[in-house]
């Protein structure tokens, strides 16, 4: 196996052009595990840990440009206000050691349905920045996940950043695991209220071949909120509405039975998480804290 170490983004992009099959390596919390267990033998690794440009986040207006190499620990410590859903999800990733190494960019690159970053990024409506020697483009998170552990990036491209608008409303993230820390999601759910555009967005994790939104549940809830003027009145949500939202989130999932949980439990838990996170987010909104 070849080991390519880049120190600048242009070097990294050139290397990726040269050897598109090279697997990018950042925190190593996914890739190294696969190598150690001999589950994967890529012809080359492209080490990005020396590429400083990827390590930073910045604000462009109200959009956070989160470099692909920013660790979960930094997301928690530095971006809790701007990206609350992503920060909540980051807090559930692995152990402190893993959070010190692992990155949101890496999570997107692996594109595992169980990745913790995906539901909050779906709910927030993020864009993924992909770069190659021929240029840079952005892809909506809605179009990013293309199949089990695959995404819209081309072989010659690297994920360089995630673009997320700073939260305009409450965001929530909830994740089921069979222990209280350091656990891979049995199922997870992200929710973001976007009062400025009177929209609700969602993200479902570990309950379908890819991370996905519960689009129909979003439309249902968004129109109900609009119809009853709830964005303006900030009045309490009817139980029946919350419950129906939970059922529609559940209906959007396509989980399987596996060693971590049953499909039936995943569906059930999604309905409960959807109800609860909506309740918490709306309470925040009604309380005017957001």
């Amino acid at each position: 196996m070849e080991f390519l170490a880049a120190t600048t983004l242009s070097d990294a992009l050139a290397a990726k052009r040269e050897q598109p099959e090279a697997v990018p390596l950042m925190g190593g919390t996914d890739v190294m595990v696969e190598l150690n267990f001999d589950r994967r033998r890529p012809p080359a690794l492209l080490d990005l840990t020396g590429v400083r440009e990827l390590d930073e986040w910045s604000m462009d207006g109200d959009v956070v440009r989160l470099g692909a190499g920013v660790t979960y620990t930094r997301v928690i410590e530095e971006l809790g206000q701007a990206l609350p859903g992503l920060a909540m999800a980051s807090r559930t990733v692995g152990s402190p050691q893993i959070r010190n190494r692992g990155t949101v960019g890496g999570n997107l690159g692996a594109a595992s349905p169980a990745g913790d970053s995906h539901p909050p990024l779906l709910a927030a409506g993020a864009k993924i920045e992909l770069a190659s020697v021929t240029g840079t483009r952005t892809v909506s998170i809605d179009d990013f996940y293309t199949g089990v552990k695959s995404h819209a990036g081309r072989p010659d491209e690297l994920i360089t950043a995630v673009l997320v608008r700073s939260a305009r409303g409450p965001q929530q993230f909830s994740k089921i695991g069979t222990r209280n820390a350091m656990v891979i999601a049995v199922s997870s759910f992200g929710l973001a209220l976007h009062p400025d555009v009177k929209r609700v967005r969602t993200g479902i994790g570990s309950a379908a071949p890819t991370p996905r939104r519960a689009v129909e549940a979003e439309s249902f809830l968004s129109s109900a909120l609009e119809e009853h003027d709830l964005w303006e009145t900030r009045a309490a949500l009817a139980d029946s509405l919350v419950r129906e939202f939970g059922e529609r989130v559940k209906a959007a999932a396509r989980p399987i039975d596996d060693v971590r949980g049953t499909a039936a439990y995943r569906l059930h838990s999604l309905a409960v998480m959807a109800r609860r996170t909506l309740g918490w987010a709306w309470a925040d909104y009604a309380g005017g804290t957001a």
Partner: protein, 805 residues
Amino acid sequence: MPPATPTEAPPEPAAPADAPDATRGDVAGGVGHSAGRPDSTLKVTGEFAYGSDLWMDNMLWGVTVRSPHPYARIRSIDIAEALATAGVFAVLTHEDVPGEKTYGLEVADQPVLAFDVVRYQGEPVALVAADHPEIARQAAKKVRVDYEVLEPVTDARAALGHATPDLHGDQAGQVTELSRAAPYLHPEGNLVRHLKIRVGDPDPVADVVVVGEYDVGMQDQAFLGPEAGLAVPDGVGGVDLYVATQWLHVDQRQICAALGLRAEQVRLSLAGVGGAFGGREDLSMHVHGCLLALHTGKPVKMVYNREESFFGHVHRHPAKMRYEHGADRDGRLVYVKAEIYLDGGAYASSTPAVVGNAGTMGLGPYVVPNIHVDCYGAYTNNPPCGAMRGFGSVQTAFAYEAQMDKLAAQLGMDPVELRVRNAMAEGSPIPTGQVIDSAAPVAELLQRLRAMPLPSDLDGADLRHLPGGVSNTTHGEGVRRGVGYAVAYKNVAFSEGFDDYSTARVRLEAVAGAPQVTVHTAAAEVGQGLVTVEQQICRTELGVDTVVVHPKDTQVGSGGSTSASRQTYVTGGAVRAACHRVRDRVFALAAAYLGETLDDLRLEGGNIVSQTRGAVGSVADVLGTEVVEETTQWRHRRTEPIDPETGQGFAHVQFAFAAHRAVVDVDVELGLVKVVELACTQDVGKAINPDAVVGQIQGGSTQGMGLALMEEIQISEGKIRNPSFTDYLIPTILDTPPMPIEVLEYADPHAPYGLRGVGEAPTISSGPAVMAAIRDACGLELTKVPVRPEHIVDGGADREVSGTD
């Protein structure tokens, strides 16, 4: 039917000359003090050398080729391509095993390397040695094994041709095609052991009867240091093996048989052990490493990775149990009937002894006048099961404690009160008829627990205190609190007539004008702190501060197994006995030195002290250049096999008692659990090292809780589905609650210093207490361990949920 006549202890072997002298607890770093571990700094700083750190220049790396199938016939093995790989020095199969082709702790039924058939997934079939571990791994993939895959036997009852339950209803079990069709996995059939206990009335009648069926999953020891060792050929046909293990001499015996070598040709030294919990009682890489070393003439290191480790050691037996308890209206037990099936997997390992414990300890620390127990250990094509902390008692405790709660509910009694009413005490008979002849404070343990203050109400302000933790699944919605109690007792040391002993060599000499003790035993230090205890005993008995623990090896006699909570008792007893012989020789030297014999001497602070005349000389002066060394074998009191038809007999050396109270918060809508507090009371006889005792209780409690909540090797058609720490979950510190602990010290007059084995008892009662608390919170029966979120959710499917969550 035999009468329930108490069985008395057989005559004691030569009794120790002196009474327990637990009062001598004042020596700094001695018995009764929380002396620090000799290896603590190295371990905390990461410098301690574990088995996986072993290294020799020019060593080779050994890798094991394992069966992918739970049950298959081996048609052929082709090693040619693997052997032709550059860097490969040897590829070995069963044909290269020079001695006995099979080995085992109790029954030699397990092939060193498979021949004819493989009986479990992961069974070793061939070995590869190469000059780099990666080359060895890649070459191992080139060993071509042609298998004829067979249908695995995966149910213990079916393996025995017994009725298997109707999976979809509550009807009584029946003999199905599955059970009729089970092939013999070993020549004698699939029964490893059937233990029977028959006491009193065979057809008892009771006012109140409760029946329950319980299912305990397969737990893994999950030690952090994987199997590792280094075999070094001596150039004249023998081998030195450095290995992380639990019992050097039983390893040595099995290795010698497989290699066809004499004991003096196979020398073992203990490598650094990163946890054991029973999982290192059986051989892992031992014979394999030696075979490769002898074959290549080079040192060979073998280290399993985490995934391989799941296939490289035995696990805790999964159990299926049916219990029937009958009591009178006052809550006094009239009878218990129990049927217990333990799945031993492909090879016997220590299944016979585990059946012995599960059967004889399987009704809990309660007095039962009429008893009918059938406990079976069976061969299947599941992963082999053997020793794990608690050893048969853990599984049954989940059943009998659930039954006690069920009975209490039926009677409308408080569950603690019901337990106290039936509690064993000193003088009570246990189901084998043996009378408990030292303290058995079962009632007091429970009453003390109940008297402890309960933790404060739900704290929803910090997510870490809620079910789900920072995963943010509830802010209090759906959360209900529950409280549960459980109590356990466990036999300490080896039972049923086993000649259980340990050997200690103690040397006293003057080094640079100061007395120094060296203590040498073969008893394995696996993290539990025996090395500290050995030092403490030497300090107390010989009044010498500097005690060197000699590396553990086979150059001294057997220390017996580091298991069954026995090492402080048995090796501690041996060290103490050796110290006494050393002391007596020092007194003789003192007599020569002083020119008179004093009979009121003791060793204290490096001096020889007379009761009447004070210090009469320093140990260093009295010794001069003399080196006083004594080697002693020491045995605990003798036990007997139990009667095969009635289960009666003086089978056990000693009993340890522990009780737990668990307080849990359960999110009943999501099935997630947060253990809020896990309080423990335990009688340890004498706390030789109080801090270490508390550490054992905390660790045991956590391991038992882990089984209740999450720890399970999931098996499907004989295959392990979760061989990784990603999916085999053990509790993290955020899952581990505060643990108020009260340690009682009721001396056992038969034991050194009055001590009781500590390590296993808390592992047994903690899980059942957690299960009881969860049941209390949910109002569900929850008969499957570990409980999974879907069990709580499914069981509560009809539960009325509030609409405001």
